[in-house]
């Protein structure tokens, strides 16, 4: 049975697209046929992060309007043949996505894919609403920072009340916390909210912590999801998250300040 995952946050710039790209790639690399959809109509960026921006011919809105078939619009990833990308449209018409249209495309995808990852735009407008409306699971991406935590809490309220599952009185959407841009050094100094702090406030099941890492920008510069950089801390953290989501039991990493005496002195990263 296919599962629809929404990657959401409310606030912008916390790492939704980075996360969508990474977990979609991670799921596909684990052998599950996966589609990742960009819901940010007018401001598409998933294609850049996935490195397929020059291969976009048709987009999500074209499919909804019947101007292209799903197969014409889906772009097969260059690194993994089980991963497909459905880019957002660059139209300025915010009403281009309809609930009926999105539902129809998702139903069609469900026949062929195991996981469908919906990359939500920031905010609580139509695109964000439709990205989460049909979801089975929600990955709530949060930074250890006040405005991001507050917005995540707002999103949790919306997930619980304005989704298909909520409206039909079905089992609620499963919500998971992904804490990104985490800096254990700053937590230790009392300058940053800790994992426990954020969990106390949001009461969410922690799927994983992504440390603040140079590898994320490097990955987006080159258009390869950071999870493929297996040597990097962020890549490994995303690997753990995918494994945990699939039911593997992996202890949490990157939460404590691991810098030893020597590394502190020589400042290696």
């Amino acid at each position: 049975m296919a599962r629809i995952i929404v990657v959401t946050s409310g606030k912008g710039g916390v790492g939704k697209t980075t996360t969508s790209a990474a977990i979609a790639m991670g799921l596909a690399k684990k052998g599950h046929k996966t589609a990742v959809i960009d819901f940010d109509v007018g401001l598409r960026n998933l294609d850049l992060i996935m490195g397929c921006e020059r291969r976009v011919v048709y987009d999500f809105v074209n499919v909804i309007n019947g101007e292209a078939t799903l197969n014409q619009a889906l772009i097969r990833d260059k690194n993994c043949n089980l991963l497909y990308i459905l880019p957002a449209s660059q139209t300025r018409d915010k009403e281009a996505l309809s609930q009926e249209g999105v539902g129809r495309v998702l139903e069609e995808l469900k026949k062929d894919f195991k996981y469908i990852v919906c990359d939500s735009p920031a905010g609580i407008e139509k695109g964000a609403h439709l990205a989460m409306y049909f979801a089975d699971d929600a990955f709530v991406v949060t930074n250890p920072e006040v405005s991001s935590v507050r917005d995540s809490d707002r999103m949790l309220g919306i997930l619980a009340s304005k989704s298909y599952r909520a409206e039909q009185n079905l089992e609620p959407i499963k919500e998971y916390l992904l804490l990104t841009r985490y800096s254990p050094e700053r937590v230790k100094l009392g300058e940053m909210l800790s994992v426990e702090d954020v969990q106390d406030i949001l009461s969410l099941h922690l799927l994983g912590v992504i440390p603040e890492s140079k590898s994320v920008l490097n990955a987006s510069n080159s258009g390869t999801p950071v999870i493929l950089d297996e040597k990097s801390d962020a890549g490994q953290a995303y690997g753990d998250i995918v494994a945990r989501y699939l039911g593997e039991n992996r202890p949490h990493r990157f939460i404590d300040d691991q810098k030893g005496f020597f590394r502190k002195f020589f400042g290696s990263k």
Binding site: E145, V146, V149, R150, D153, R154, G157, V187, L189, G190, E191, M192, L193, S194, D197, D200, I201, L202
Partner: protein, 88 residues
């Protein structure tokens, strides 16, 4: 880190300040988000009715709305004035 910084750090950390602010804010936003929109009006009208019979102040009444998995509770709390103070 200078010696001065060391003493400074014994003060409340900014992270704990952030946590405290968030906890208050989130609790408030959750409760106001979930409660029905008629609640303030209900509170106002109830107070008017009670004031017809009992001499109570504006803050003598509190209405709260709670929701859990299978029931919704509307809690009404009226503090009546002290009997002793009522005696002439």
């Amino acid at each position: 880190m200078s010696l001065l910084d060391y003493f400074k750090s014994s003060k409340v950390s900014s992270a704990s300040l952030a946590k405290e602010r968030l906890q208050i804010l989130v609790a408030h936003e959750r409760s106001s988000l979930n409660q029905p929109s008629y609640l303030p009006q209900l509170q106002k009208e109830l107070l008017e009715v009670i004031q017809k019979y009992v001499n109570v102040g504006q803050d003598a009444i509190s209405v709260s709305f709670e929701q859990d998995e299978n029931q919704e509770t509307l809690e009404l709390n009226i503090t009546l004035p002290d009997l002793i103070t009522k005696k002439p």
